[in-house]
Structure formats: C-alpha cells, structure tokens
Symmetry: C2
C-alpha cells in the first residue's frame, strides 16, 4: 500500500469549493472550504483551488484527486454541458484526476464527452457511501444553498430523481439552504407586529441573516457575501431583514426582528417538512428509521426529525477521522459529498488493487 | 402666465429614472425613462439624470423641477433616511427643485430634515391626481418591480397604508412587477411536463423573461439587465427559465417553455388577484367601479379586472398630451407618478398665482 497516494476529494459547488483529504489509511486528515462564487466566472475556481492546495501545503502531484460537482448550473455558463466542461478543464490542471459519475469514475476526456453523467452528482456520492453504513434512514444534508433529502432502505439508495430537474420535481432536492437563500424564496408573507405582511421581492437579505440573529450559524460556515455587501454583524443583518419589509432596523425593537427571524426559520423548516413528508409518503423507509443530518445547516435537522416523529442521528457518527478527532469528523460531515467521494474512491481503489491487474493509476 | 417655466417632473425609482415634461399649458410634451440601478450607487442617478436632460435638450434652469421617489429603499443606502438625503442632494444640482411630500412641497433643506415624508410617496401622487378625475375606482399601476393597488372612493384616496411597510402589510403595495421580479418570488412550485416541480432559489430569471416569451413586453419597457447578463432574446430568456428548473433550453420543446411562462404569468396574476380581493373586501369602492390600469405592466390589468368581474379603463384616457398625441398619453401612463407629480405641481402653482401674493418661486 505504500505506493498509494493520499486522496484529495473535491466538491465544486456553485458558491463554495470544499475539499477533504484522506490519509493513506482512509481517515480524514483535513477539511477545507473556501467561497467560490462561480457565477462570477470560472477564474473563481482557479483561485479557490489554488487556495485550498496552499492551505493544505500540497502540490498537484502529491495526491490523487477525485472530483464531484454541482457548480455547472451557475449562470456564468451558457448551459450545463459548458459548465461541466469548464469545471473539468479547471480541475484537470495537474496530478492524477478522476471525476465521479455515479456508477463509474471518468477521466477528463470522458467526462467532457458525457457531461450530464457528472452534473450535480454529489448527493449520490453521499447517499451511496451512507447506504453502506446504515440500512434505513432519510439522509438530510442541509447546505448553504440547497438541501438533499435522500431515502435509504435495505442498504440501498432508493431515490426517484437522478438530476437536478427530476430531484426538484420529487422533492428530494429542496432549493433552500441556511446561508445563501434569498428570503423572498422562503415565504410570500410573514407575521410582523401582529399582522401579516408581504415581502419585498428584492435580493435584500438571505437566510444567513436569519441564523445570525438566532445565533445558530457558525462563523466558519458563513462564507458567502451578504446581500448588500455590508458586514455579517447582527446589527447589519437586522437592517437587511428590516429592508425586506420596507423598514429600517430602528423602526422596531430588536425583539421584533428576532421574532421575525424565528418566523422565517419556521418558513424554511416548513419547506423541509413538506418535502420530507412527501418523500417519506413513498413508504420505502421504515417508520422507525432515523433522519441522518449533514451539512452546515445540520442544526435544523433535530427540529425536522421531531416534526416527523423520528429519531435523529448525525453523519459525523459514521465518519472516520485521523485519531478519531471529533472536530475533523464534524467538519467532514459539513462537506459530506467530498468526504463520500473520497471514501468511494478509496474503497474502489483498494478493491482494484486486490482483485485485478490494474496498475494503480487514476482510474480504478 | 408667460413667466411660468415648463415643469419637469421626476420619479426616482430604485431601478429606473422617469421624467415627464409638461408644456406651459400643462400638456405632456415628452416622457423619458432610463435605467438607473441605484443599488450600484448614487452615481447611477447622476448619469441617468444627465441622460434625461440631454435627451430632452434641456438645461437645469430651463424648467421647474418637481421630484418624487421610491429609490431610497435601495440597499446602496444604509437606511431610508440616508437614501432620501442622497437622492435629494443629487436632484438638487441646479435650477428650481421641489420635492413631493403628499400634502406639501418641500425644498431640499426641508426634505432632508423630514426624509420619511418623501420616502416612497410616488403612488400617492398618482392616486391624488386620479381621484380628481374619477369618483370611484381601483387604480392598478403595475410597474417593472412593484404594483400599486389604490382604492379611490367619493373622489378621495381611501388608502390604509402610507409607507412601504404599512402598504406591504395591507396589500396596497404588491412587490411584484413585469420586468425585475425574480421568479423565485412568484411561486414555490410550478407545473411542468405534467408534474409539480419546485424552483431554484437563485437569481437565474426574472419576470421579463416570462413576458418576452409571451410577446407581451414592449422593448422600450424592457430596460433592466437580465439575470445572467446575456441578451433579451427569446432564446436566452428561455434558457434562463429552464435554469430555474435545473434544466437547459434544449431539454424540452419551445412549447413546454411557453407553457411554463404561461403558468408563471398566472402565478403573478394570482398575487395581484389575491391582493385586489383583499383591498376590495374593505367595501370602500363601489361594486361596479372600474379598475384603472397604468404602468408598463398594464397588459395584465384586463385579466385582473375579468377575474374581479369589473370593467377596465386605462389611465391614458385621463391624460392630457400636446396635440392629444396618443403615444405621449400612453408613455405618460407608464410613468404615472411622474405625470401626476407634474400635474399636481402645475395646478398648485396656478392656484398660488391666482390666489396669493407668492412670488411664483419654486414653492407654491
């Protein structure tokens, strides 16, 4: 096993780049997340990728790279195929690189030839990995921007959707997250000062503003720009919330804005509850099976589980980290697709070495 | 009357600057609208203002300026008072300038001292002007970004809300328009290919994309940037719609995207129907009284009136233009607050001259 390179797995999102480094024993050694607003152009990925390698003090050739993505939907790209091609080209800068395509691993050339095999496949990695750990569960990965609700039953992923479009349709993908979601997408009306009021349809505030007021969003998970470019302080977050109602912070008490944040949190939770009820109504997942939380929005999952009358576990419980480090396990569970891609590559590579005459190259 | 300057009335919105020029007889002589994305900073207003004057071949001192605004809510400003102050300062560059504050006209110094008198008062000008023309009506001014639903009864404006916040609360302000509204604010789910699907909570597409596909939005009313910075062609609009569903244009037929546009138009119409039903449920407006349409989204009002079982008239019918020019009347009805401010200033100034010893200066 000494010829084996450490695995560096990448999850190229539309707003963040996440990377998980496994050591030669397949344990998490490091997790890095950097902002990467791909809608501003592919050069964002170039600098974020360099930033991750720099932070890990690694060169391209020190590791085996394994890549998954969702960023191809960003509207810097004319369509998803162009997005995949641009991301593949950028991630293929050096070293051995392979791309996760569900059942198989692709080299760059193959990836560009069948782009929709790679497009938004990252959830599939998480689910496939977790299905090998637990028999029955609903995986709930709440990210900065979207949430995945993926049923596992009999040790298999029993999803109905396979791409963004079909997953949006069957509620396995909920386009709602705890950092970037514009508040106008959470609710058309909210209670305030004893009345219902509608919201401004402007990009004035995002879900991170809610969870900053509620004190639930960790600073290291709060990487996206604010809607107005001002700071992430509670005071500025409150002003952004107020603007959604055509008001200023000073027009109501801090308690009133906190109450509004609570109502908006509930609106987001309601979206997730409705989606989970719909997915679970297919009756594939056993009634007593748990929800398993992941992602930077994991803190919402206990409330979701309570609403559904199910137990709640956390993906971190199943993650293997160097020296059992709980901080690394937590960090990896917030970047679950990257961790899962790393583990899937790790076990495939191991099987190949044991069971075939492969040369141990980048495609197991 | 020969000492009287022509009146140039300005409506400073958050995304557009509109100006209506009256001749000495109080007839519309010209209407100009230019894009003015104030969230990018106050210098946008400086160049748009210069652009309007240039297009009209006017100098600051050739006219009496009358100003109303809604742009102070833009998040380039720390709060609304700062927004009013910045806009007042910018509009006060030269010539005689006064600011509409409902019951009164303010000079710049007074305006900055009581900013919330000016904030988002433009709807009030339209309603006050129209209430002098018709006894009973629901004014429906559908703009690029927002819609105003203002009941008139007994020749008076019988509104409940007086600022953005209270108007959002009572549905007299609906934050939904036919150009800039992000589609995520119109609906949480849409029918597509025989199924319900949820939408991406991203700024991928706007309401202008809907009405471009439906062929209902005139090019001269379609001035805001697209969500992805690409062209306003039907093909690019279709790709933006497709992205909201995690798809590309090529993934479905043009007929399918057209059907989606129709469904989104209906979602927007539903917002307006619900708001109008709520406002009309106060029973102030007589049952047979008409809706009176205005704004670049006037084309939606006949369908709204049909849903409410009421006749539909157009504000252009009440507008006085030079030589009765129908194109000028239509243009002014799309910039109704600017036209109304011009007319309100015109009649106030006339009364002052007839009934007082005022010097005919800028404050009647």
């Amino acid at each position: 096993m000494t010829d084996r390179l450490p695995i560096l797995a990448w999850d190229v999102g539309g707003a963040h780049l996440k990377a998980v480094l496994l050591n030669e024993a397949g344990e998490v050694q490091a997790v890095v997340q950097l902002p990467c607003p791909l809608w501003r152009g592919i050069q964002q990925l170039q600098s974020a990728r360099a930033g991750v390698l720099n932070q890990l003090q690694l060169q391209d050739h020190d590791v085996q790279h394994a890549v998954t993505m969702t960023g191809e939907l960003a509207d810097a790209f004319a369509d998803r195929a162009s997005g995949v091609a641009a991301i593949v080209t950028e991630m293929q800068r050096g070293g051995q690189v392979c791309f996760y395509a569900g059942e198989q691993w692709l080299q760059a050339g193959q990836a560009v030839a069948q782009p929709l095999q790679l497009a938004s496949a990252n959830w599939n990695a998480s689910a496939t990995w977790l299905a090998a750990q637990v028999d029955q569960a609903l995986l709930v990965d709440i990210g900065s921007t979207t949430s995945d609700l993926i049923p596992l039953a009999g040790g298999r992923v029993v999803c109905r959707g396979h791409d963004d479009a079909s997953r949006l349709q069957c509620s396995e993908l909920v386009y709602s997250g705890v950092v970037r979601t514009p508040l106008m997408a959470l609710a058309q009306r909210v209670p305030f000062a004893g009345e219902w009021t509608t919201l401004a349809a402007e990009h004035f505030a995002t879900s991170a503003d809610i969870y900053r007021l509620l004190g639930q969003l960790a600073a290291e998970d709060d990487q996206a720009d604010t809607a107005d470019g001002r700071s992430k302080s509670v005071a500025h977050s409150r002003q952004r919330l107020a603007r959604m109602l055509g008001q200023d912070d000073a027009d109501a008490s801090p308690a009133a804005w906190l109450q509004l944040a609570q109502a908006l949190r509930q609106a987001q939770l309601d979206q997730l509850i409705q989606a989970a009820l719909r997915v679970l109504s297919r009756l594939e997942v056993a009634p007593e099976a748990p929800l398993i939380s992941a992602g930077v929005g994991r803190f919402l999952v206990p409330a979701l589980a309570a609403a559904l009358g199910r137990p709640c576990h956390d993906a971190a419980e199943y993650i293997v980290a160097q020296a059992g480090d709980p901080a690394l396990r937590l960090a990896a569970s917030k970047a679950l697709p990257a961790y899962a891609v790393a583990q899937l590559y790790f076990s495939q590579a191991g099987q190949t070495r044991l069971g075939s005459t492969a040369d141990g190259g980048s495609q197991p």
